[in-house]
């Protein structure tokens, strides 16, 4: 029983990180239609910015985290200028290959900047544990779940109940009309990229204390985030969260009850089953054709 509680909490904590990564991916997909295959590298950059501000600059923790998140926002903005603008008129095939190649360059660039030795990023919440139902739960896991919940709530309020969110949704729904109405569409799309980058940055900062932080951490997270997106429903925000939690729980429970070597097959297997049997995912709209 105490094992199960412990596993459930760490599964949900890992799942919330995947959900954040998937949310960043979905934000871009619904705002711009771009399928960002470099999404995992965004998460890695978040963790590595944390390495710079926390470990290398040695700033006080709250300031270091804020600075790392702000750097992600700026990075998202630059990504809009450098990648989104040239990609905007390209075919989907070109977009996929281009973002794959950008991901490759980001990964190897990070390898150049930060080296190939993994970093141990400390948790902002310490290494303590709490005792719940007789089982030891790490504070970092609980805090990860809490922060994800706060971020999801903030994203919901921003998109549904603020004027910025309203115009951003307008741009996502109908780009030409939004432009004709005189909205600053470029700036709003840049905002979407910044928001996505910040969400990915949080994912990176939260997952780095669970694992190690290095230039190659992005691929594994990206694959889980893609699987989460497909399982939950492409382009759906509740879907990204449900999918992320599913993938995180499947990974942790699968590793301890089934096989730790094959734990990842569970989530990719589920992804393929969903793609074949229910391509719209749990929360997606039923569309006969996808692409």
């Amino acid at each position: 029983m105490q094992d199960l509680v412990q596993l459930l909490v760490s599964g949900v904590a890992l799942g919330s990180v995947y959900a954040l990564a998937a949310l960043g991916f979905v934000t871009i997909y619904s705002a711009t239609g771009i399928v960002n295959f470099a999404a995992g590298q965004f998460v890695m950059f978040g963790a590595m910015f944390g390495v710079t501000t926390v470990l290398q600059l040695g700033l006080p923790m709250p300031m270091a985290i804020l600075l790392a998140v702000a750097m992600m926002g700026v990075f998202g903005f630059l990504f809009y200028l450098g990648v989104h603008l040239p990609l905007r008129t390209q075919s989907p095939v070109t977009v996929v290959i281009a973002t794959v190649m950008i991901g490759l360059s980001m990964q190897n660039g990070a390898n150049l900047i930060w080296g190939s030795v993994p970093f141990r990023l400390p948790s902002p919440f310490g290494d303590g544990t709490l005792t719940v139902f007789d089982s030891a739960i790490s504070t970092h896991a609980l805090a990860s779940i809490g922060i994800t919940a706060v971020l999801v709530a903030a994203l919901y309020v921003l998109m549904q109940h603020s004027s910025l969110g309203r115009v951003m949704r307008a741009v996502a729904q109908d780009f030409p009309t939004a432009r004709l109405m005189g909205l600053p569409v470029g700036l709003l799309l840049a905002c979407s990229w910044a928001i996505a980058a910040v969400l990915a940055g949080f994912a990176g900062l939260l997952i780095a204390p669970m694992w190690f932080a290095d230039a190659h951490m992005g691929d594994a997270i990206a694959l889980k985030a893609f699987a989460a997106t497909i399982i939950g429903g492409f382009g759906s925000v509740p879907g990204a969260i449900a999918g992320g939690l599913f993938v995180g729980l499947a990974e942790i429970l699968g590793a301890s009850y089934i096989s730790s070597a094959y734990k990842d097959l569970l989530c990719f297997g589920a992804m393929v089953v969903f793609l074949v049997a229910r391509p719209q995912g749990i929360f997606g709209e039923p569309i006969s054709e996808r692409g």
Binding site: L112, F226, A261, Y262, E289
Partner: protein, 331 residues
């Protein structure tokens, strides 16, 4: 008609001359360059296969390396564990890769665009997980060693130079067959599906069948590449068939020129030799590599083959301004 015959004759002459030059090549360069050329020829076979899938049928497959891996592991397991003749192993490897692609196609090809790309990415990752963990059968991450060399009448293709001729013949045959398919009804159907799926299906094409055929054909080509890889290195290990290899195959096709046979081979060669030419960049190489492919994508979407075609058309335009308007890049 006469003009066409003359053109064909000159084309054949050019081919014979370049093949003649190619057959002398191993004597002119060092062992290391022959080894690289062999690697490029093996990649050419894989990229020619990817060209059916992405270039003609327009489907982004990110599992191409795992299909080649199916072929490589089939021949490795067949020869090492069951002591099969390597030639029989080759056939089994090609068939395994083709069957794997066929089944994947049946399951996944109703998906389009990035859905298919994500699904195939998942398949490649799963392939690596399975191969790395089935230690008794695949040797796990240590791989399988002791794959025998191919022999014809006692002549073993066991050195770089000897293997080169085998690989050259294989790639020429694959390219000729690819050209035949391109100009057959099947080739035209694939391009129709790529250009406008709805129009193709309204015209009576079975879109899914065409896509599955393209994927299976591409799978057999990848199988040939995998079999060649196993019999060249005489060793297989999971990391050679990971998603990053699939991405390299995509990059080769994009750089060489999507939907051209010459471009597929050109891309395989350029990207195999690029690390040698850019050795002075040191560890920055992979960063530059990604950006180069990106630049190619934006500035020359038809790849190197397109650039050469463009230069060729300019040159011809100077010769006769009349014909310039007629020239079209053949897709």
């Amino acid at each position: 008609m006469n003009k066409k015959n003359a053109k064909n004759a000159s084309l054949i002459l050019a081919l014979v001359l370049s093949l003649g030059a190619a057959s002398l090549l191993p004597n002119a360069v060092g062992e290391y360059w022959v080894r690289l050329t062999n690697a490029a020829l093996i990649s050419s076979a894989a990229v020619l296969g990817l060209n059916f899938v992405l270039g003609y049928a327009g489907q982004i497959s990110m599992m191409h390396a795992s299909v080649a891996g199916m072929g490589a592991y089939a021949v490795a397991i067949g020869t090492v564990k069951f002591g099969l003749n390597p030639w029989l192993g080759c056939l089994i490897g090609m068939a395994t890769a083709g069957a794997f692609s066929y089944v994947t196609g049946i399951l996944l090809l109703r998906l389009k665009g990035h859905y298919f790309a994500l699904a195939t990415l998942g398949i490649n990752v799963s392939f690596i997980i399975v191969v790395s963990n089935l230690v008794e059968i695949t040797g796990g991450s240590n791989g399988l060693t002791g794959i025998p060399a191919l022999t014809i009448l006692g002549f073993a293709f066991d050195s770089e130079r000897r293997f080169y001729y085998l690989a050259l013949v294989a790639v020429v045959l694959l390219a000729v067959f690819a050209s035949y398919v391109r100009h057959s009804q099947l080739g035209r159907s694939m391009i129709a599906v790529r250009d406008d799926e709805l129009a193709a299906s309204v015209s009576g094409l079975n879109v899914t069948a065409v896509k599955v055929t393209a994927l299976t054909l591409g799978g057999v080509y990848a199988g040939v590449a995998g079999v060649m890889f196993a019999l060249h290195a005489r060793f297989v290990a999971p990391e050679d068939f990971s998603t990053s290899t699939s991405i390299v195959y995509l990059a080769m096709l994009v750089v060489g020129g999507e939907a051209t046979i010459l471009g597929s081979i050109l891309g395989a060669f350029v990207i195999t030799f690029l690390p040698e030419w850019l050795r002075w960049l040191g560890s920055a190489y992979l960063v530059i590599f990604g950006l180069l492919v990106l630049l190619m994508l934006f500035l020359a979407p038809r790849g190197l083959a397109g650039l050469f075609g463009f230069a060729w058309s300019k040159w011809k335009a100077q010769l006769s301004s009349k014909e310039a308007g007629k020239w079209r890049f053949s897709k």
